[in-house]
Symmetry: C2
Subunit: 653 residues, 2 copies
């Protein structure tokens, strides 16, 4: 036994892997990576493809050339990859693996090929280097997920995401061991999938932006190769403007004549739950759609139906009276009718919080909880299965820390045995009101890597203290795996400088600010339409801007330790701040859009100048009277750090 | 008449448009761009989509929000776009347009919708800004292309390019008014298109990387919307390893057993031109492929068939003897047989230089000349139509200046009337031995913008002096239109710094060097395989590195004018050079791949230090003896500026 028996924690493994593995035992020495890394594989075709990808990424990372499948089938291999069986891509399969690295051998063992694939991902993240070259440190890892449902939801209705953008997210999800792609395919702003039964859905309600069936097959197959389940969502009875644009006769309003929505919000068009033709339509449509998606779970949306038209149409009112239904009961009745079609199609119904109703409990739906913990608690009370997205709404541009301290299991249920069984996991939700194919990566990544860790790693393993440091590292890894989250930001910044070679000053400025959080950027959903450009300054800003964090850390550290190094850092920041106004003024001629940053840059200038003065005071170079200190404080607190849909992340203290 | 009657040249229009328009007359004043820009359109659905795209790009550029098709149908419109007819997307259509901008109106007129679409592209490039906002200067432009065939060839066999990468090139081509996409779909390294008749082509010879027919339709339709013709190429009888991997019985060698090539080079596997089964195969295959591509022209390759197997197989030798053929005559006979299938399919044969043979002249093929001007001259002598690619091989990483001074018409034919009629234009050729989907943009763009100008603009309009300045500008425009040519380079550079926010120093270093030109990077085609990583330092280097050009210009300017400003520039360069070694040393721990740059960085350090000394001497700060001068010169000339598959672009003089 060459391994030390001391289990080391994540810190000691240099935070190499994300999500954090279950058990990590460091060994002595290291395995040198060179062109002689030769595998022997026992496993499925899917695993073989994964090994191809592994070599491709390793090669890109190290610059080492490998020949195609120059592999071994005997014990001479120094890289064993053994999976006992090919897993079906479905909920609850064994995803565990073990990975052992010694000086002369790497061994991956897993029950399933998907477990082995995760081991390959872990191994890639373990790549280290020194001046002489690349290596893996000796280690023994045993790993398995905490939750079986680790999802990302992507809204392709508000802004359509082409095949390449979807595949990219699948690649990145797999890198972070996420295994559910929830595809929000219809909403008020568009229907995004070819239907033979109802061709008007794409003809009238997609702007020509939709997936053909071949493309759906292509993506489902692609996801299967990555061990990712694909769950489609078709939102009914609300969020149905696109459906009702194509088939207005199904509307709760008589003589409806809709066009797809161009703005964000909650809209009134709603399917008529009292007419048989509605159920015929859904039966045929859902059965057609069900054939495209092998997964058992099928998401019917069900959220935000305010029922305004249900309160207005005489026939619906009469129907409700006859049945003794309120709107929620009517929707439960509607859902239970839908469920028959889903059962016919061999599917399990899943829907947002709002579908939870006592009348639907017999249908045993999966509740996708988004509004708060109440929905989860109620679901558990009713023995219903739950997926949590509340706390994982990445479109709201909250800090990664916020998401990281959320848990699929509410605190009050942490010891509840039913909850342990029924809460399957969670999903990060990427709603696309203010996101398009060119900005989506910087909205999903690297933040969702932290969420992936919440879904995969044991709660007591989580390490919030070094989260951002680890995210910085994973950021490079994600980019190597195809993410555009850095490039897309830089494109925007560069544009304002007319592609100067060195745009680091402007990038620095951008990296001090975050875009408005929650829905403040698009008040009432009407400022932006779905055609508004999403390549503007605010689109380059991220939820956790790096430089403002560095500044804030330097302040905290200085206050704690009075370290002169931190003073030096602060001085560098203040100096840069003092120059921001001139920077903006110099660019504004060619980029008049930067006008919205003028006031902010002026504020930074003053804050920078005052900051420098303060540093001189702290280092004893100058003396400030109390009156001068008060006046400085007033000047700083009077500054405005808002503008251009942005807000300063860390206000200088 | 508000326009001045003085025609101004390109310089006076600030080099705004690329390719340079035919006639430009500046007017007084300007048209302010705001959300009230409202068009009235007379034209095809294709033109309407182009206007949608126009607003999308304008909106991204200016940040102004527009509503969807918030257009006018009466004279209140301030933006008239009128096309008389919808053009078929075929050779020789009218592509001219006129564009008139006054203070209160923009008018586009064209015979065809495609002409009007080009006017929209010109208009986008005319967007200017000052501190107050965006505007178009008043101008009247009449424009039409010099050549009707302005192509880009993309090799998707050596490295497969997914649909998204192809569409991106089509978008960018249209931006530069290029109108032919030549798609090199088969070669020794892979067959890239689904065939129902011969499914083994993709099953055995594509690594699973090929276009489905639906994808071909999708791309052809996409190209049609951009006025771009799509010409497929299926290379026969040589470059046929992929075909013969799938169907070895068609090989000129008995008992052939091939696998697709993983390296670059000229390979021996060749179709057997003496067997009827070969012609049956081609007849069926080409007719199947012909249906996918509406264009009349069909490229059969025909290059680099060295006929080694034709000299070795007894039956082929006997056949040649019987017919009295040498290998070239045999190939001409083969081609004339092929031509029957193409005529059946309604196609016109096109092939590389080598198909030119007196026995094939009756078939009236189009000669795609690549080896030199001889092929063009001979083709004209024989009344054959010609496309030129010699001089436009962008894979060779030559300077854009080199390509810019090439002309589709050889100097010796410049007044030849037949040549004027028969030379249709040219194609830039992007062979992909050392290019993949992630590097291809920086190999094609912005260099091909200069080639597009050669194909579009009148010879006497060309402006080589300000070429690079104009390319810098067009570079931003291309990026706004979706190009990845900058991002892809930066990704590589950033990786070596572990995604530091500021990577400008390393980028500066990269921008001093060019990758090896011609085929020197991959000697004999064997160093790289098709699986080798193409995200390395040399892949970030471009043919015309910006900083080395700036340095070189500063040297030239200083020698010419002794301007102290240039001395300052040189000093900045030298200072940076002196720091490059430390920079590389500081990064090498994490990026041991940079080791190959050590020697170069040392050389730069010495050159920088000596340079600074020289500047001190020039400014009179120090005195250097003759001996010291000689020793300095020797030190500089002894330095090595090669390494890591790179060569310094402009040797410091």
């Amino acid at each position: 036994m060459i391994f030390t028996t001391v289990k080391i924690n994540a810190q000691q493994m240099d935070h190499q892997v994300m999500p954090l593995p279950k058990e990590v035992v460091a060994g002595p020495g290291e395995f040198i990576i060179n062109s002689k890394l030769k595998p022997r594989i026992e496993g499925s075709e899917r695993l073989i493809k994964a090994v191809d990808r592994f070599y491709n990424v390793l090669s890109k990372k190290t610059g080492i050339f490998y020949n195609l499948r120059d592999w071994s089938d005997d014990d001479s291999a120094n890289f064993e990859i053994i999976a006992e069986e090919k897993a079906p891509v479905e909920l609850g399969i064994d995803e565990s693996y073990s990975l052992k690295i010694t000086n002369d051998k790497i061994q991956i063992k897993a029950k399933t090929d998907i477990g082995a694939m995760y081991a390959l991902q872990t191994l890639l993240q373990l790549t280290e280097s020194n001046e002489k070259g690349y290596f893996f440190k000796s280690v023994e890892i045993f790993d398995a997920p905490r939750f079986p449902w680790r999802g990302l939801m992507l809204d392709v209705s508000r802004h359509f995401m082409p095949v390449a953008a979807v595949k990219r997210q699948l690649d990145l999800m797999h890198t972070m061991k996420m295994n559910v792609f929830h595809w929000h395919l219809s909403d008020d702003q568009g229907w995004r999938i070819e239907s033979d039964s109802f061709p008007l859905l794409t003809e009238k309600a997609s702007d020509g932006k939709f997936y053909t069936k071949e493309q759906i097959h292509e993506i489902v197959k692609y996801a299967d190769d990555l061990g990712i389940r694909v769950i489609p969502e078709f939102d009914v009875p609300g969020h149905a403007t696109a459906i009702l644009t194509a088939y207005p006769k199904l509307a709760s309003e008589n003589n409806a004549n809709y066009t797809i929505e161009r703005h964000a919000g909650i809209f009134d068009p709603t399917l008529d739950p009292t007419k048989e033709k509605t159920y015929n339509f859904i039966h045929i449509l859902f059965n057609e759609m069900a054939l495209l998606f092998p997964d058992k779970y099928f998401h019917i949306g069900g959220d935000e139906n305010e029922g305004k038209h249900w309160d207005r149409d005489p026939e619906i009112i009469a129907f409700k009276e006859k049945k003794g239904f309120d709107n929620h009961e009517l929707q439960a009745w509607f859902n239970s009718r839908l469920n028959k079609s889903l059962v016919d199609a061999g599917k399990i119904m899943m829907g947002w919080d709002e579908i939870l109703h006592k009348d639907l409990i017999d249908s045993n739906p999966v509740i996708h909880s988004w509004r708060g913990e109440d929905g989860i608690i109620k679901s558990i009370d009713n023995d219903l299965r739950v997926i949590r997205s509340h706390g994982f709404y990445i479109d709201l541009m909250q800090s990664t820390s916020y998401h990281y301290f959320m848990d699929p299991v509410p605190q009050s249920l942490i010891d509840n045995e039913k909850a342990k069984k029924l809460i399957f996991g969670g999903e990060a939700t990427m709603w696309s009101e203010l996101v398009d194919q060119n900005s989506v990566d910087s909205r999903i990544w690297p933040r969702s890597a932290a969420i992936a860790e919440v879904f995969w790693s044991e709660r007591n393993k989580l390490d919030g203290e070094n989260l951002f440091q680890r995210l910085d590292k994973i950021s490079s890894h994600l980019e190597l795996n195809g993410s555009e989250h850095i490039s897309n930001r830089h494109k925007i910044i560069r544009r304002y400088t007319e592609n100067q070679q060195d745009f680091s000053d402007l990038l620095y400025f951008n990296d001090l600010m975050a875009p408005y959080r929650f829905y403040h950027r698009n008040p009432k959903g009407t400022l932006y339409s779905m055609l508004s450009p999403l390549n503007q300054w605010a689109d380059a800003c991220i939820a956790d801007p790096v430089e403002s964090r560095k500044f804030s850390n330097a302040v905290k550290n200085y206050i704690a330790n009075q370290n002169p190094e931190d003073l030096q850092k602060l001085e560098n920041h203040f100096k840069k701040w003092a120059e921001l106004e001139d920077l903006i003024n110099s660019l504004i001629q060619k980029s008049p859009q930067l006008d919205s940053l003028r006031q902010v840059s002026q504020s930074f200038k003053i804050a920078g100048e005052e900051g420098l003065k303060l540093l001189d005071f702290l280092s004893g170079k100058i003396i400030l009277s109390d009156a001068e200190m008060i006046s400085m404080s007033e000047r700083i607190h009077g500054l405005k750090f808002k503008g251009g849909e942005l807000v300063l992340k860390h206000f200088p203290s």
